[in-house]
């Protein structure tokens, strides 16, 4: 009987370091295919000693792959656990490993995109930027540290937990609603803060004068269109514009196009005196 092959802690640490470079060879043909293979190399080296086994394992992991980079940990961990079982003689078909990989891609994009790009980055970046606007170096440092700590923790814990739990994770834990709860919770936080940002950090000023009334003490009170909007609800125009842009984006107008359109609006509006 052979000695049971298993990954060492060093292999896992090596794979963890490699996950930071997941997207290095991002390409439009197979996205992260080479990246995933790159991450798996320490495991393949440890688990397979025959050249033909190594070759087939390498080729197995050069197929299409794509996930939010910070969420590759659990997928990599589970895949490594399956390879380990296979290397120890378990009857695992090549197609089973591939379909588990593909099967985890969807859920982890679904969790990763709202959490990392929709919530964590906008919130830490907005916090950092608000400090940076005062000229303090604390702003960039805070953003860089907070985001990377969360990202590295997700990668390491995901990889470690995925590897330890192996298939259990896919078959049992993911069937529960833990991931859905986390995604939903993060989305709420993201939406809430985004609403606050729309109100606080969108600057639209319409200085069109509506009326000028002389008050009893002799001074003149000028009411502009902007004053009226502010009385209704502060930030109302920003909200309207945001919802309009949401609609336009859904009509497949590219973000950079919209940015240039808004530039045109700003130039024309300020030249006509409607915007200031």
């Amino acid at each position: 009987m052979d000695i049971k092959k298993s990954l060492t802690k060093g292999d896992l640490i090596n794979m963890f370091i490699r996950t930071n470079f997941q997207q290095a060879s991002f390409n439009f043909e197979r996205i992260h295919a080479l990246g995933f293979c790159f991450n798996m190399i320490p495991a393949i080296k440890r688990l397979y000693s025959l050249p033909e086994d190594q070759t087939s394992a390498l080729k197995r992991h050069l197929s299409f792959f794509n996930v939010t980079p910070a969420c590759v940990g659990p997928v990599l961990g589970v895949t490594a656990a399956m390879e380990e079982a296979k290397a120890n003689g378990a009857q695992i078909e090549e197609s089973a490993i591939n379909s588990i990989k593909i099967g985890m891609m969807g859920p982890f994009c679904g969790v990763g995109d709202p959490i990392f790009w929709g919530t964590l980055r906008p919130i830490t970046a907005a916090l950092g930027a608000s400090i940076a606007l005062t000229g303090s170096v604390l702003g960039p440092i805070l953003f860089f540290t907070l985001f990377n700590l969360a990202r590295l923790a997700a990668l390491w814990l995901g990889l470690f937990y995925g590897y330890k739990k192996g298939l259990d994770l896919v078959l049992n834990e993911l069937k529960g609603n833990k991931l859905q709860k986390i995604t939903e919770g993060a989305s709420i936080l993201g939406f809430f803060v985004m609403g606050a940002l729309v109100s606080k950090w969108t600057v639209i000023n319409v200085p069109v004068v509506i009326s000028q009334i002389a008050s009893p003490d002799g001074s003149i009170i000028t009411t502009t269109l902007q004053n009226i909007f502010d009385q209704l609800m502060p930030g109302l125009l920003g909200l309207g514009l945001t919802l309009l842009v949401c609609k336009l984006l859904k009509m497949r107008i590219s973000p950079i196009m919209l940015i240039f359109m808004l530039f045109a609006v700003g130039i024309i509006g300020s030249a006509l005196g409607i915007l200031a």
Partner: protein
């Protein structure tokens, strides 16, 4: 100011780090907040770099790569605008006007780079046949070098030929009504980023929380930390009370022991 050779080399390196960050999307060195600060540090005016970085970061808040879709390029935009603003002694508003066209140009470059890297993918396929681990590692990291050069070569060219007078003359050609207009527009261009985030989140039934945040912000002077904490409370309470999650939890509680169900609640 005139750039020393040492500064040009450092700018090349900072640009390379930002270019790598742009494709990796891991360390966030391509974000304006980090990249502009680094340029400011190299050019000896870190404060301007930080303020420009903060300003551009707010505009780029929602720029993200989802799947294979590319966002405007914040790496090239941040570095070139920070260089021109600091070298040419220009106001922050000019930096915004420079950054946006450059972000569009950078987006084209990044699409080209990501098409070129298909070759590295194919080379790796070949090395897999012979089980050559080192060569596969080399392909992967080699592709990263392409992405670094994508930003650092344009930056190097500008660093070599730029002069303060040149920058000022060039920017003086822009009529005043355009710069005022751009300044006005930069106040509301941020909504494109917000809209990208909102659309990406998808879950329409959670939009009430967006309006709640909007209304509270309109009538209070709470800062972002307060909004973060309030938002966190909202999400905890929502998940705890949602019948969708409640049903499953009672089912779990039936089979597992009492202490486990308390753990579950704490986990939420």
């Amino acid at each position: 100011m005139v750039l020393s050779t040492f500064q040009i080399i450092l700018l090349f390196l900072v640009a390379a780090v930002a270019g790598m960050g742009s494709v990796l999307d891991s360390f966030q060195t391509h974000r304006p907040l980090v990249a502009c600060t680094l340029v400011g540090l190299v050019l000896g005016d870190i404060t301007t770099g930080i303020i420009l970085g903060g300003t551009l970061e707010l505009i780029a808040l929602g720029w993200m790569n989802i799947g294979a879709a590319q966002s405007p390029d914040s790496a090239l935009a941040s570095i070139i605008s920070a260089m021109l603003v600091i070298i040419g002694n220009q106001p922050i508003a000019t930096g915004i006007a420079i950054a946006l066209p450059v972000a569009a140009a950078g987006q084209v470059l990044t699409v080209i780079a990501r098409t070129i890297t298909v070759m590295f993918q194919h080379a790796a396929d070949k090395y897999a046949e012979s089980g050559n681990f080192r060569a596969i590692d080399f392909c992967h990291i080699g592709a990263l070098v392409i992405q670094a050069l994508r930003v650092s070569i344009p930056v190097l060219l500008i660093a070599l030929f730029v002069s303060p007078a040149g920058v000022q003359n060039l920017l003086a050609l822009i009529p005043a009504f355009i710069t005022t207009g751009l300044k006005v527009a930069s106040g509301f261009i941020v909504v494109v980023g917000y809209a990208m985030v909102i659309n990406m989140m998808g879950a329409k039934y959670l939009l009430p929380f967006f309006f709640l945040g909007f209304v509270i912000a309109g009538f209070t002077t709470f800062n972002l930390v307060a909004f973060g904490v309030l938002g966190l409370f909202c999400s905890i309470v929502y998940v705890q009370l949602n019948p969708k999650f409640q049903m499953n939890q009672t089912a779990v509680a039936d089979i597992s022991s009492a202490s486990n169900s308390i753990d579950d609640e704490l986990d939420n």
